[in-house]
C-alpha cells in the first residue's frame, strides 16, 4: 500500500511538472509589433503672423501706405575711383635747361692823370718855357701852341682786369683845367698792353678853373689794364693880364669807364647778379589729351642740380612763380658747384595755365644767377653754359583741375540677386515696381551713362529693362569743394517697361553692363573745368523697390524643409485641421511633395488643399478677415512616401479672387491667425 501510494504520488508530480506550458511566457519570442493603434488629437502648431512676416527677406520695408515693400539695395553696383579713370604721373623729369652765362661787369673803372705846368714845360718845351722863370710871380702867360710829336703821360694800371673784351660800356673823359690860362688839347688813350690806340679825344678852349667831359663808346673794344694818356696838341692863347704863375698848376685828365659789360676776359669778378632768365616746364600726362589747369599736390619733391661750365661761383636763384606752397612761390637757391637741392612739394599748388598762349600743362620759372666774388682773376666768357637738371618725384595729386578729355569706359558686367524671387513663380505682375539708380559723383567731369539690364525667367523667357530716355547724365558737383553730387535716376511704370520686366518674373538674377562716356559734348574751359581730388569717385547704388501690390493670376512658391522620414514610422495616417482667419485677400492652396534632396527623387505628393480663403474687400477697400477651416490629410500611402523622404517641398499657389485685373496689396499689418490641430493614428 505504501509503495503504491508513493508511486501514485510520484506519477502525479511528474505529470504536473511536465505539463507546464511556458511557451506563452517565453519573452524571448516577444514580437516587436504591438497591436496598439491609438488615435491622438492634439494642437500641432499655431501662428499669428502678419503680411510682414510672410516675406523671408532682409530687404523688406513698410511703405507709407502700409504695403509691404521689398527694397533690394546694392551699394556700389558700379564704382570707379580716380585711379580707375585716369593715370596721373608720379614723376616728371625736365630736359636740362641750359643757358649761356652772358656778360658780366667788372664794375666802373676810373683812372686819371694830372699834368703839372712844370711837366708841360719839360715835355713840350718852346715858348711855354718862359713861364719857368716867372714861377711864383704874376706875369703875362704867353700864348703857346704845341703840335709836335705825342707826349706820353703814364696812367696807373687798371686793377679790375688784366684784359677784357667789352660788349658794352662807355668811357667818359674829363679834362679839368687848373692852369691860369685857357687851353685846347688833342689827345688819345693808348692801350700799351695791346699797343694800340683806344681812342682820340679833344678839348677846345677850356677856360681856367673849368672842366669839360667827353663820352665815347667802348663797345667791341679789347682793352688791357695798361693804358696811357698821349698829348698830341696843346694850345693856349695865354693871358692878357698878369696871372700868378705857379709851376704846380695842372691839367687833370680823368678816364671813367662805365657800365662795362665784358663778353670775355681775364677779370676779377665782383659780386653781381646776372640777368634773370625765364621759361616754362611742360608737364606731361599719360593721357595725351589731358590739359591740366591747376593742381594741388598731396606730396612730392622737386630736385634741382646745376651743371656749370664756367669758373664763376655763386648760386642760381630759381623761382617757380606758379608753384606755391603756403602761399609762397617755390624758390630754390642752387649752388653753381653741382650739388643738388631738394624741396618738399607737399601741399604745393600748381598753376599750369599762367601762359595765355598755352594755358595748360605749363610750369613757368625764372632764375637769376648770383655771382660771388671771384677772389682773383679768372677767365670768363659770356658763352660759358649754366644748366639745371630738374626732377619732380613722388607726385601724388590732391586735386587736379583741367580738361580731362573725352573718354569712354565700359561698365564691368555684373549681376545682383533678388532672394525672394528665387522661390516665386507663376503668372503675376507687380503693379508698381520702381528701380532707382542712385548716382554719387565727386569727379568734376560730366558723363553720360548707358546701362543695360537683363533678366530671364525660370521658363527661359528673357527681357531687357528699357527706359526712355535710355541713357542719363551723372550729377557733377559745382566745384571741387562741393563734395559729392547725388542724383537719382528712376525706372518706373511711366518711363520704362519695368512692369513687364518684373513680370517675367526674373529667376532671381538680374545682369547688367554698360558704358560711361565722359565729357561727351562738354566744352571745357578754365571757367568750366573738369576737376577731381584724390578721393573722388563715381558710384552707382541700386535700389529695386517692389511693393507687394500684385495682380495675380497664379503666384507659386516653393519652400523645402528637411525632415527625417523615419520619424513618422509610427504614424499610420494624419489629418491636419487648419483653422485660419485670413486678413489678406488671397487664397492659398498647398500641396506637399516628398522628396529626396540628394538624389532629387520625388516619392509622392499629397493632395492639393486650400489652406486659406481670401479676405473680402469692402466697398471702402478695407480687408475683412475670413474664417475658414480646412482639412489636410495624409492617408496611409502618402505616409509611406513621407517616410521615405528626407525633405518636404511645400508648394503653395496663391490665387487672387480679383484676378489679374485688380491689384491686391499685401499690407504689413494684415493678419493671418492660424491654428493646426493634428489627428493621427499611431501604429505602435
Amino acid at each position: 500500500m505504501k509503495r503504491f501510494i508513493i508511486m501514485i504520488w510520484t506519477v502525479l508530480l511528474l505529470i504536473l511538472l511536465n505539463s507546464c506550458n511556458m511557451s506563452n511566457l517565453d519573452f524571448s519570442k516577444l514580437s516587436e509589433e504591438a497591436n496598439l493603434n491609438p488615435s491622438l488629437v492634439a494642437p500641432l502648431a499655431k501662428a499669428n503672423i502678419t503680411g510682414w512676416d510672410l516675406f523671408k527677406s532682409a530687404y523688406k520695408e513698410q511703405g507709407s501706405n502700409g504695403v509691404v515693400r521689398l527694397v533690394y539695395t546694392q551699394n556700389d553696383l558700379i564704382k570707379y575711383n580716380v585711379h580707375d579713370l585716369m593715370n596721373l604721373p608720379a614723376q616728371q623729369k625736365f630736359s636740362s635747361i641750359g643757358k649761356e652765362l652772358g656778360e658780366i661787369s667788372p664794375g666802373d673803372v676810373s683812372i686819371s692823370r694830372a699834368v703839372s705846368l712844370s711837366e708841360l714845360i719839360t715835355q713840350l718845351g718852346g715858348g711855354i718855357k718862359d713861364n719857368e722863370q716867372n714861377n711864383g710871380t704874376n706875369a703875362i702867360f704867353p700864348a703857346y701852341s704845341y703840335t709836335g710829336s705825342e707826349v706820353r703821360f703814364s696812367l696807373d694800371p687798371i686793377t679790375e682786369y688784366t684784359s677784357i673784351t667789352l660788349s658794352s660800356g662807355t668811357i667818359e673823359i674829363t679834362l679839368e683845367n687848373k692852369l691860369k690860362i685857357p687851353v685846347t688839347i688833342i689827345g688819345s688813350l693808348f692801350d700799351t698792353g695791346n699797343n694800340r690806340k683806344i681812342m682820340d679825344f679833344s678839348f677846345t678852349n677850356i677856360l681856367s678853373g673849368t672842366s669839360s667831359k667827353e663820352s665815347l663808346s667802348l663797345v667791341g673794344l679789347q682793352l688791357s689794364n695798361k693804358v696811357e694818356f698821349r698829348l698830341s696838341s696843346f694850345q693856349t692863347p695865354g693871358s692878357e693880364t698878369e696871372v700868378p704863375i705857379n709851376l704846380s698848376d695842372y691839367l687833370k685828365v680823368t678816364f671813367d669807364l662805365k657800365n662795362l659789360k665784358i663778353s670775355s676776359g681775364n677779370v676779377m669778378v665782383k659780386p653781381q647778379i646776372l640777368e634773370a632768365t625765364s621759361g616754362t616746364f611742360g608737364f606731361v600726362f599719360p593721357e595725351s589729351d589731358m590739359k591740366a589747369f591747376s593742381a594741388v599736390l598731396k606730396k612730392g619733391t622737386i630736385s634741382i642740380k646745376t651743371v656749370n661750365s664756367s669758373k664763376l661761383n655763386g648760386t642760381i636763384n630759381l623761382v617757380l612763380n606758379e608753384m606755391k606752397r603756403n602761399g609762397a612761390a617755390i624758390q630754390a637757391n642752387i649752388p653753381l658747384n653741382g650739388s643738388s637741392t631738394s624741396i618738399d612739394l607737399t601741399g604745393a599748388e600748381i598753376n599750369f595755365s599762367s601762359d595765355p598762349l598755352n594755358p595748360f600743362n605749363q610750369i613757368p620759372y625764372t632764375y637769376s644767377v648770383q655771382v660771388d666774388n671771384s677772389g682773383g682773376y679768372i677767365n670768363f666768357a659770356s658763352t660759358d653754359m649754366l644748366k639745371m637738371d630738374i626732377s619732380l618725384d613722388g607726385l601724388d595729386f590732391q586735386s587736379l583741375n583741367g580738361d580731362f578729355g573725352s573718354r569712354k569706359m565700359q561698365i564691368d558686367p555684373g549681376n545682383f540677386v533678388l532672394d525672394v524671387l528665387q522661390k516665386l513663380g507663376g503668372d503675376f505682375v507687380v503693379a508698381n515696381p520702381a528701380l532707382s539708380l542712385i548716382l554719387h559723383n565727386s569727379i568734376g567731369m560730366p558723363a553720360e551713362v548707358s546701362l543695360n539690364m537683363k533678366a530671364s525667367s525660370k521658363s527661359g523667357r528673357t527681357g531687357t529693362l528699357q527706359r526712355n530716355p535710355g541713357s542719363f547724365n551723372i550729377p557733377v558737383p559745382a566745384d571741387i569743394q562741393a563734395g559729392t553730387a547725388t542724383a537719382t535716376v528712376e525706372y518706373n511704370r511711366q518711363n520704362s517697361n519695368i512692369i513687364d520686366f518684373m513680370a517675367l518674373p526674373p529667376n532671381s538674377t538680374i545682369s547688367y553692363n554698360g558704358e560711361i562716356d565722359f565729357n561727351k559734348g562738354n566744352v571745357v574751359t578754365p571757367l568750366n573745368p573738369n576737376f577731381l581730388n584724390s578721393a573722388s569717385a563715381f558710384s552707382i547704388d541700386l535700389a529695386l523697390d517692389i511693393p507687394m501690390e500684385l495682380k495675380i493670376s497664379t503666384l507659386s512658391f516653393n519652400d523645402t524643409t528637411s525632415i527625417t522620414g523615419s520619424s513618422f514610422n509610427k504614424v499610420e495616417s494624419a489629418e491636419l485641421t487648419i483653422s485660419a482667419s485670413n486678413g489678406i485677400p488671397l487664397d492659398l492652396d498647398m500641396q506637399l511633395f516628398f522628396v529626396d534632396t540628394i538624389s532629387k527623387r520625388q516619392y509622392g505628393t499629397s493632395k492639393s488643399v486650400k489652406i486659406l480663403s481670401a479676405a473680402q474687400i469692402s466697398a471702402a477697400g478695407e480687408y475683412i478677415p475670413v474664417q475658414s477651416t480646412q482639412i489636410f490629410s495624409l492617408d496611409q500611402s502618402e505616409m509611406v512616401n513621407l517616410r521615405k523622404a528626407n525633405g518636404v517641398v511645400f508648394s503653395g499657389t496663391v490665387i487672387s479672387p480679383a484676378g489679374k485685373d485688380k491689384a491686391v496689396s499685401i499690407l504689413s499689418t494684415s493678419k493671418i491667425d492660424l491654428k493646426v490641430v493634428m489627428k493621427s493614428k499611431i501604429n505602435l
Partner: protein, 473 residues
C-alpha cells in the same frame, strides 16, 4: 533510535533535491489539508498535525511564490497568427476588453530562515524567522483604454486615468506563536506575535493622472498629482535649477541591508477553532494585523503638475531674416524642456518624513465536516486586504488521508473574480520527513498564461516525535 537516525538521513538526502516551504503565504487549499503542519499559517489555533517537534531549516526550508491578477496574462500577451504564430504579440485590444474598472496585480514571496515548533500537552509554541516581500500594482481600466484608443475619443472631456498605485514591501518577520486548547479541547485559541523589520517600502498614497482635450482640440491639459513614500538605500540628485536629475543607490553591504532594524513594525495573528460537533469544526482567524513604521532612508515626494500643450507657436519662426526670429528646433526644444520641467519634481517637493505601511491582512472563516475519520469536506472564506485592495476567495475542499503517510486534497476556489481554480494538495510522509506540494490552481501548470491565480508551495517538514501522530480534525 535506529528509526530516528534513518529518518534524519533521509531528511538530509531529500533536502538537496527539494525546496521545502514551511512558512510561506497561505494557500486556501492547504488550510484543511490533513496531516500538514502549515495549517497554522491560516489560523494559529489550527493544527492539522500534532508532531511534537517541528524543525525548519534556513532557506532550504522553502520559498513561496504567489501571483494574483485580475486578468490572465494571455489577455495581454499571446501567440500571434500567420507570420507571427511563433511569436508573442502584445494585444492591447483584448487586454483592455478583459479588464475591470479597477485591476490589481499582486505578487508575494517569502523565504523562511528558521522554524522551531513544539507541542506540549495542550499547548503549542513556535518561533519563526522569515523574509517576506509583496508587491501590488493597481490601475484603472481607463488608463489602458486611453493608451489603446488615444484621446481622439475624448475630445472636450477631462479623462481621469485613475489612481495608479504601486506598493511594494520587504521585511523580516520574527514571529512567536502560542496556542492552547480549552473547554475540554473543544476550543483552541492561538496567538502569534510578530516583530517586523522593514527593509524596503514603496508606498503610493496617490498618483492621479488626468488628460483634458479641448472641445476644439486647441489645447491638451496633462495633470498629475502624486504622493509617494519610499524607504530604500538611495539618494536623490538635483540639477543646478533644483530639479530632480537622478536617483542613485547608496552603498550598503548586503549584511547591513538585511540586518537593519531602523524600520520597526508589529503584527499579530489571532485564531480560534471550535469543534461544534464531533464531525463539525468551525475556525476563524485574523492574520498579519499590523504595520511597519519606516523611519530610515526615507524619501517622500509630493508633486503636482499641470502642463498645457497648445501647439508650437511659429509666429516668430516664419521669417528667418527678422531680428526676433526663433528657429523652429529651438521652439520645440523649449517646449520639450517645459514639458519635462512640468513633470520633473523639484527639490522642494521632496522630504524625509517617516511613514507607516500596513502589511497584507487576511481574515479566514471556515469549517470542515467529517465524512469519515479520514475524509472531510471543508469550506473556507478568505478576505485579503492590503491598503485599498481587498480580495475575497471561497474554497471548497475535499481532504483525505490515505493510510498514515499520504494526504490528498482537492479543491475548487473562487478567488477574486477568477472562478476556474482547481487546486491540488499532496503530502507524503516518509518517517520524519514529510514532502508536500500544494497549489490552488492546477491549470496554472498547464497554461500559466491563461490564469489569474498562480501559486505554489512545495516543501519538506522535519517532524520529530516519540510517536508519530496525525491529528485528525
Amino acid at each position: 533510535m535506529k528509526n530516528f537516525q534513518t529518518k534524519i538521513f533521509l531528511a538530509v538526502l531529500i533536502l538537496g533535491s527539494a525546496i521545502p516551504t514551511l512558512f510561506a503565504q497561505e494557500i486556501p487549499t492547504l488550510q484543511f489539508m490533513k496531516g500538514l503542519s502549515q495549517s497554522d499559517l491560516f489560523n494559529p489555533a489550527l493544527h492539522n498535525d500534532s508532531t511534537k517537534w517541528v524543525v525548519g531549516l534556513p532557506v532550504l526550508s522553502g520559498a513561496n511564490y504567489s501571483f494574483n491578477s485580475d486578468f490572465a496574462t494571455d489577455k495581454l500577451l499571446h501567440k500571434g497568427t500567420g507570420a507571427l504564430s511563433d511569436s508573442l504579440v502584445l494585444d492591447l485590444e483584448k487586454f483592455q476588453a478583459s479588464l475591470r474598472s479597477s485591476n490589481t496585480i499582486q505578487q508575494q514571496f517569502s523565504v523562511p530562515y528558521f522554524y522551531l515548533g513544539y507541542h506540549l500537552k495542550k499547548s503549542f509554541f513556535s518561533l519563526v524567522i522569515s523574509e517576506k516581500a509583496s508587491a501590488n500594482l493597481t490601475f484603472n481600466k481607463s488608463l489602458i483604454t486611453f493608451l489603446k484608443d488615444g484621446n481622439a475619443s475624448y475630445i472636450g472631456q477631462n479623462v481621469d486615468l485613475g489612481n495608479l498605485k504601486v506598493d511594494a514591501l520587504q521585511y523580516s518577520e520574527f514571529a512567536f506563536c502560542y496556542s492552547t486548547s480549552l473547554l475540554k479541547d473543544k476550543l483552541t485559541l492561538g496567538l502569534r506575535a510578530k516583530a517586523l523589520f522593514g527593509k524596503f517600502a514603496l508606498q503610493t498614497e496617490k498618483m492621479d493622472i488626468q488628460v483634458e482635450t479641448a472641445p476644439d482640440a486647441s489645447y491638451v491639459n496633462l495633470k498629475s498629482d502624486m504622493k509617494i513614500n519610499l524607504s530604500a538605500p538611495i539618494s536623490v540628485e538635483y540639477d543646478q535649477d533644483g530639479y530632480f536629475s537622478a536617483m542613485k543607490g547608496t552603498h550598503i553591504s548586503g549584511v547591513n541591508y538585511m540586518t537593519q532594524t531602523g524600520n520597526m513594525g508589529f503584527a499579530i495573528d489571532f485564531g480560534a477553532v471550535y469543534k461544534l460537533t464531533p464531525k463539525l469544526l468551525l475556525s476563524g482567524s485574523i492574520i498579519d494585523l499590523g504595520k511597519i513604521s519606516f523611519k530610515n532612508s526615507v524619501l517622500n515626494l509630493d508633486h503636482s503638475s499641470t502642463y498645457q500643450w497648445t501647439g508650437i507657436d511659429f509666429s516668430k519662426s516664419i521669417d528667418n531674416t527678422s531680428a526676433g526670429y526663433i528657429k523652429p528646433s529651438d521652439l520645440i526644444d523649449a517646449e520639450t524642456t517645459k514639458l519635462k520641467d512640468s513633470f520633473r519634481p523639484k527639490n522642494t517637493e521632496f522630504s524625509t518624513e517617516p511613514f507607516k505601511m500596513t502589511i497584507p491582512t487576511k481574515i479566514f472563516l471556515g469549517g470542515t465536516y467529517d465524512i469519515t475519520s479520514r475524509f472531510n469536506m471543508g469550506l473556507l472564506d478568505r478576505l485579503y486586504k492590503y491598503g485599498d485592495y481587498s480580495q475575497n476567495s471561497v474554497t471548497l475542499s475535499a481532504n483525505a488521508l490515505l493510510g498514515k503517510i499520504f494526504s490528498l486534497t482537492g479543491s475548487y476556489s473562487m478567488i477574486g473574480n477568477s472562478s476556474t481554480n482547481l487546486g491540488l494538495g499532496m503530502a507524503l510522509r516518509l518517517g520524519a520527513v514529510q514532502i508536500y506540494f500544494v497549489n490552488d490552481n492546477v491549470l496554472a501548470f498547464v497554461n500559466p498564461s491563461n490564469v489569474e491565480v498562480a501559486n505554489l508551495r512545495f516543501g519538506i517538514n522535519l517532524l520529530f516525535s516519540g510517536k508519530s501522530k496525525v491529528a485528525v480534525n
